[in-house]
């Protein structure tokens, strides 16, 4: 088990090193990058929209359920919802979902290209396949996942407000007042730091498993599942590490 870890970790580092070489044609790399931005960003927006709204709504309802003391002002609910969403739910929960959506797509796409010899075809043409196929995916994830996390934060807070207002727990004014109370911009920086880290993990780990598929359709499925599991574990581990270091 230990040796397998070092084998994969070493190969993963070599893959990252292999991505950096002079692009054969910058225009084609840019095209590939833009395509990946659309796939990762636009392709995942729907699921991020849905989970963010419900995540905010549920957080408001559960916070209100626990804050039963009449001394605590209702605006505190909004404050708790805001910080919970910005610090944890938006970056981590969104990344876990994206590990499933984006990670499995990257792993299966590259795995299919490997199995059907499309990667070999690119190699024969003299193209650095790690640079052309993996680097744009990682760069796109580094750009789009933080954007999705920010959108998720806004949608989560909005969903929380709507759930609170619709269920009669809190008025819109109280909610807005709570949102402004004791706001720390550092929390947003923390959320962004987490989302960049998670974005890198999701794209690079999935690309590693997809790029190194050996076999057929069954192995593509296995690689896709493994990439999601490993990405999720690493996201949770880094979540803890970053929280311990930065907060």
């Amino acid at each position: 088990m230990e040796f397998r870890f070092f084998y994969h970790f070493g190969n993963y580092l070599l893959m990252l090193k292999g991505m950096f070489s002079r692009p054969e044609n910058m225009k084609m790399y840019w095209k590939q990058f833009m395509q990946q931005c659309v796939d990762i960003g636009v392709g995942s927006f729907g699921i991020v929209f849905i989970i963010s709204l419900f995540m905010g709504g549920v957080t408001t309802l559960q916070t209100a359920y626990q804050l039963v003391n009449p001394i605590i002002p209702k605006s505190t609910i909004a404050q708790v919802v805001r910080d919970t969403i910005i610090l944890e739910f938006a970056p981590t929960l969104t990344s876990i979902v994206l590990a499933g959506v984006v990670g499995s797509k990257i792993a299966s796409e590259l795995g299919n290209m490997r199995v059907t010899e499309q990667i070999d075809a690119l190699e024969i043409m003299g193209i650095n396949t790690k640079g052309y196929l993996i680097l744009p995916k990682i760069m796109a994830a580094l750009l789009m996942i933080p954007i999705l996390v920010m959108i998720s934060g806004f949608l989560g807070v909005w969903g929380g407000k709507e759930a609170g207002v619709l269920s009669g727990i809190i008025s819109p004014d109280e909610f807005l007042q709570g949102l402004r109370q004791d706001f720390r911009a550092y929390n947003v920086f923390f959320a962004l730091a987490k989302s960049y880290t998670f974005g890198f993990i999701i794209a690079s780990v999935s690309a590693y498993y997809g790029y190194n598929v050996k076999g057929g359709a069954l192995e593509i499925g296995k690689a896709s599942t493994t990439s999601v599991v490993v990405s999720c574990v690493l996201v949770l581990f880094m979540d803890y590490a970053l929280t311990a270091i930065l907060l």
Partner: protein, 280 residues
């Protein structure tokens, strides 16, 4: 011309190529034949650099490919076209975009020139009407032809084909063979084909290398193969009773018509032909 000098390759304890030397000549269709597991696919992958050799040299027109750095290899690879067994077309691109891809990546002319070149290549393989289709919408034979068009779009000096006829009906196989042969002569390409298909051997084998258990067992042309006394080669080529009888009939026919004298003359003019490598 591609020259293999005593190349060896193993995976773990298993030795796949046990010191193979051969010359793949330009303007000719060079075939690598052999049973499954004889090392022909590994040999082809070594030749294009998808697998590194353990020992020996591969020379492309005298340049040592095995000791080249990444940049030098990239230059050589831009002169290589390859047709894969499964065609290896890019699923997300149309036929036209697949053929355009190498031109977009490495070509220097205007977009109009590139489009013109793509149209020429598609016309050459009789696929002009399929330009806007996706690989999933065309047949196996058409995919192979798109693969050929993509392989020749940059005017390669070397063309590699891995099992070009696998999964195709005999008529389509013949068309693919003829197309590859025509292109080889037309552009003076060094073509290397890895095949099991006996029709290809008989139709296109200007130069044939027969591999047996990681070694070159026999080398010659499609004309010489009929007269070969190599038992292993005969067992492989004329595996069925029908083919053995066909071989005898062909020999008899050549003998009766006196054509064997002509063949002997040709053979005398090419002393290397039909040489058998001594097994170690």
């Amino acid at each position: 011309m591609i020259e293999l000098q005593d190349i060896k390759k193993g995976f773990g304890d298993k030795e796949i190529l046990k010191g193979v030397s051969a010359v793949m000549e330009s303007g000719k269709v060079n075939l690598i034949i052999g049973a499954s597991g004889s090392g022909k696919t590994v040999m082809m992958k070594c030749m294009v650099g998808l697998i590194e050799v353990d020992a020996g040299k591969i020379l492309y027109d005298g340049k040592d490919f095995t000791n080249m750095d990444t940049h030098e290899r990239k230059v050589i690879r831009q002169e290589i076209g390859m047709l894969f067994q499964g065609s290896a077309l890019f699923d997300s691109m149309t036929v036209e975009q697949n053929v355009m891809f190498p031109l977009e990546m490495f070509g220097t002319g205007s977009y109009r020139d590139k489009k013109k070149r793509v149209a020429e290549c598609l016309e050459r393989v009789n696929l002009k009407d399929a330009a806007k289709k996706f690989p999933a919408e065309i047949s196996g034979g058409m995919k192979k032809r798109v693969g050929i068009a993509r392989a020749i779009v940059l005017n390669p000096k070397y063309l590699f084909c891995d099992e070009p006829n696998s999964g195709l009906d005999p008529q389509t196989s013949l068309l693919i063979d003829q197309l590859i042969k025509e292109l080889t002569v037309e552009y003076n390409i060094t073509t290397v084909i890895n095949t099991h298909d006996m029709n290809t051997v008989m139709e296109s084998g200007d130069h044939i290398v027969y591999m047996y258990q990681g070694q070159k067992q026999w080398e010659g042309s499609n004309k010489e193969i009929v007269f070969s006394n190599d038992q292993l080669l005969n067992d492989f080529i004329f595996a069925s009773e029908f083919l053995r009888e066909a071989k005898e009939m062909r020999q008899h026919e050549l003998f009766s018509s006196g054509k064997w004298k002509e063949d002997l003359k040709n053979k005398a003019g090419n002393p290397a032909g039909g040489d058998r490598q001594k097994p170690e």
